[in-house]
């Protein structure tokens, strides 16, 4: 077997059934791996919309044929299930070292069904698979769980993915994290699904070598890609500060979410950016398996230590909620990493509450006395503690911003920044039109990683004309050409998710495309791949996702953005006055996809 480990694992936590199956090569060639393989499996298996937190929901853990190989920056793992937060396709991916270790243990996909009567964890090695008791781990945070399992299993090379108390308590945006809480499966509440199954963790360890079909060819392609990464103009910056470089980048574009998207320019960006973070708290670089960018960092502050943070949590707990105190933000982010809460979703519930109070729609009495003022980090710490335990109003906040705002009503819904129930990421779509369209149509709700249409920021007009028929596709304020850009970018990101390659490298640094992907897959697996077929498979998968979401109850009218982005111009800065006409772009996107004007794919 080349590329693939060659097996998939099926575990039923209800009756403790464990079965290992050989991978069906004809099937896997059409689904490749990672998120793509998981979603196809979900499409085949979930013929009705099961309750996401019931034993009937299924967890799919997928890696790909090139995970753990020489291909740099390709160590992602995707966890999928129906999302308790959105009711739609749920999935989240994380890098680190878990994915390659799962391959070394001999598996490409793990499917987990049912619900355990007692808290349990799954131990997967190439010698055995066991469901083990985890009552002694229940209640522990993710870092403690990781350490306890390393001690219990007496092997420093074991890799652990675990949930924290938030997942146990079914917080609907609970995360799973690996690498000692350093790398997070962040979005759509996959941690709550594990919690509902009483699955505390998966520990993996393997010693089975990974082979490729044509080592010389494969090494040559990987060598060329590694060289392109290192020669990329952003390489040094990404290596120094990682994704936190975006604080400055977005602020200069006037689209750094500030005071809950009321502004796009943050006057204290210099106090919260990647450079000051590096200077004050970073001790060294960290990296996912076989990555040559090393964009992650290890921080030590007087309040604690750990890997991170990435840009999204950093912005969520600084400018987005009006906080200029970097140290306090880091304290909160470390807490969330360990307790297993998604920073974007939780940050939005808080930003929403702060704006509701500022606008006079609600007051502190509506929140059990918690003073949600912009920048009030005492309130932030207080509510997060309530959220992870689902105590008091934390129980409501744990449902996500859409449900929270519906509960309070009275016009507060308009301020809830989400699409389809998934909270919007940190990048104001008014000054980034392709990203805005991406949030509106992404198959898991307001997500930037489904399309990551970085190209619109490049200003490469000639290339834009060649690829998308208009130079405007490379200009962030323009809307023309953006549906075509998003359609292309979604396919490319799906390819990256199937190969389990990091989007910061594969997409943002333009390392991967279907031509290179097909070559790598062929050299890696020995199966025949070509670029055209691969592109078709990717397009077909995107339409399958749409059908699956419609099955789950998606309303195409929700392919949109919150009111503010469509109606209120940004007040100042380089993007002043910008709004986004997202609904027209969505229609054009449907047309390109071959879906009806109502957003429904043809039967098939």
């Amino acid at each position: 077997m080349f590329g693939y480990a060659g097996n998939w694992l099926e575990v039923d936590l209800t009756d403790h059934g464990i079965q290992s199956h050989p991978l069906d090569l004809d099937w896997v060639k059409t689904v490749i791996g990672g998120r793509m393989m998981n979603t196809w499996r979900m499409y085949e298996e979930m013929t009705t919309g099961v309750d996401p937190l019931s034993p009937e929901n299924t967890v799919y853990v997928g890696v790909g044929p090139l995970t753990g190989t020489l291909l740099p920056a390709s160590a992602y793992t995707t966890v999928s299930a129906r999302s308790p937060l959105t009711g739609l396709i749920g999935d989240a991916a994380a890098g680190g070292h878990f994915g390659p270790e799962l391959k070394f243990a001999g598996f490409d996909q793990v499917i987990i069904r049912g619900r355990s009567e007692e808290p349990c964890y799954l131990l997967i090695t190439d010698e055995s698979v066991e469901i083990r008791p985890a009552s002694h781990l229940w209640g522990k945070d993710i870092r403690e769980t990781h350490l306890a399992l390393l001690k219990e299993l007496q092997d420093p090379h074991v890799q652990v993915a675990a949930i924290g108390p938030a997942g146990e308590n079914l917080v609907k945006y609970a995360t799973i994290a690996t690498n000692m809480a350093g790398r997070t499966f962040g979005r759509t509440g996959m941690g709550a699904v594990w919690g509902s199954k009483q699955l505390k963790a998966i520990a993996v360890r393997g010693r089975t070598p990974i082979s490729v079909a044509d080592p010389q060819r494969f090494e040559a392609i990987c060598g060329e890609l590694s060289r392109r990464i290192i020669e990329h103009p952003e390489f040094e910056t990404r290596k120094r500060v990682g994704t936190t470089m975006l604080v400055n980048n977005l602020n200069l574009l006037g689209i750094l979410p500030t005071r809950h998207f009321q502004e796009g320019v943050c006057e204290y960006a210099h106090k919260i950016n990647g450079e000051i973070l590096r200077e004050r708290y970073v001790t060294k670089n960290k990296a996912c398996y076989n990555c040559n960018v090393h964009c992650s960092r290890y921080i030590i502050t007087p309040d604690g230590e750990g890997e991170g943070p990435e840009f999204e949590p950093l912005c969520s707990y600084t400018s987005r909620i009006g906080n200029a105190d970097l140290r306090r933000a880091l304290k909160v982010i470390m807490f969330m990493n360990r307790y297993g809460v998604d920073a974007i979703s939780s940050g939005e519930t808080i930003g929403w509450a702060m704006e509701c109070i500022e606008k006079g729609l609600l007051n502190a009495a509506d929140f059990d006395g918690i003073e949600f003022r912009f920048g009030n980090m005492d309130a932030v710490e207080h509510i997060l503690d309530l959220i992870v335990r689902r105590k008091g109003i934390g129980d409501l906040f744990a449902e996500g911003t859409r449900a929270l705002a519906q509960q309070y009503g009275g016009g507060t819904e308009k301020l809830a920044m989400h699409t389809k129930g998934l909270e919007i990421i940190n990048g104001d779509p008014r000054g980034l039109k392709a990203y805005g369209l991406g949030y509106a149509v992404a198959s898991r709700g307001a997500c930037h990683l489904r399309a990551d249409p970085f190209f619109e920021l490049t200003g490469r007009r000639d290339e834009a004309i060649k690829r998308f028929g208009t130079e405007k596709a490379a200009m962030p304020f323009e809307e023309e050409g953006k549906p075509a850009l998003v359609e292309y970018s979604e396919r490319n990101c799906l390819l990256l998710d199937a190969l389990t390659m990091c989007k910061n490298v594969g997409q943002s640094m333009e390392i991967m495309n279907p031509d290179v992907g097909a070559e790598l897959l062929q050299a890696g697996t020995g199966m025949t791949f070509n670029s055209e077929e691969l592109s078709e498979t990717l397009a077909k998968t995107r339409t399958m996702e749409r059908r699956l979401n419609l099955r789950f109850g998606l309303d195409p009218k929700d392919d949109t953005l919150p009111y503010r982005f469509k109606e209120e111009g940004l007040p100042a800065g380089p993007a002043a006055g910008q709004i986004i006409h997202v609904d027209a772009m969505v229609k054009e996107f449907y047309r390109i996809k071959g879906w009806s004007a109502e957003g429904v794919p043809p039967p098939g």
């Binding site: 092997d155 690498n179 082979s211 490729v212 080592p215 040559n292 992650s296 030590i300 890997e307």
Partner: protein
């Protein structure tokens, strides 16, 4: 020798991947690699463990059939015809830098002069010093390290020893910064 600077190591394990892949026809597995990255996750440290061409030469000395010798660049070379796969060299190395795979000892031989691990490391945590060897002394620490039973445990303990020194410096620096700031 290959000089290791754990302060720069990000724990990506590209060295392991490059070593394994280049010497085992594209196959990748930790045990196929002659360099092992010890990840001391609880303190954020990562330490590549690789033959330090120590002055003591525990492995060469212990070999009952003289299958190991020191090459021109200080590297340990294994004569596969003579080696009986007895594993005494593995047991003798205090830092766990030599181990047997299919009864054949794997130890860094500098890839004949252009080490692939060093080439793969984009953090400069590994650097090749062709003129240097026999400078690292392990006698001071060997009794502690050799108390560990398995090769992996010895490598891990060596990694922790290196990491703890590093960490003291980190904590001091960070604390100073903070106080002046606030």
């Amino acid at each position: 020798m290959i000089r290791v600077d754990p302060e720069l190591c990000s724990g990506c394990r590209r060295c392991e991947v490059a070593c394994s892949s280049s010497r085992f026809m594209g196959m990748i597995e930790r045990l196929f690699s002659r360099v092992q990255v010890v990840k001391v996750e609880e303190i954020g440290a990562d330490v590549p463990v690789i033959c330090q061409q120590c002055r003591e030469r525990y492995c060469v000395d212990v070999c009952p059939v003289q299958a190991l010798r020191v090459g021109d660049r200080g590297e340990v070379l294994v004569d596969i015809e003579t080696c009986t796969g007895c594993d005494q060299c593995e047991k003798a190395c205090p830092i766990g830098a030599i181990h047997l795979v299919d009864q054949y000892p794997l130890v860094c031989d500098l890839c004949g002069g252009s080490p692939r691990c060093v080439e793969a490391c984009t953090m400069d945590a590994l650097s090749f010093e062709p003129e240097t060897s026999d400078v690292v002394l392990l006698t001071e620490v060997d009794s502690v390290l050799l108390s560990e039973k398995t090769t992996e445990e010895r490598a891990y303990l060596y990694g922790i020893t290196m990491a703890e020194t590093l960490r003291k410096a980190w904590v001091t620096n960070v604390a100073t910064d903070r106080d002046s700031d606030r």
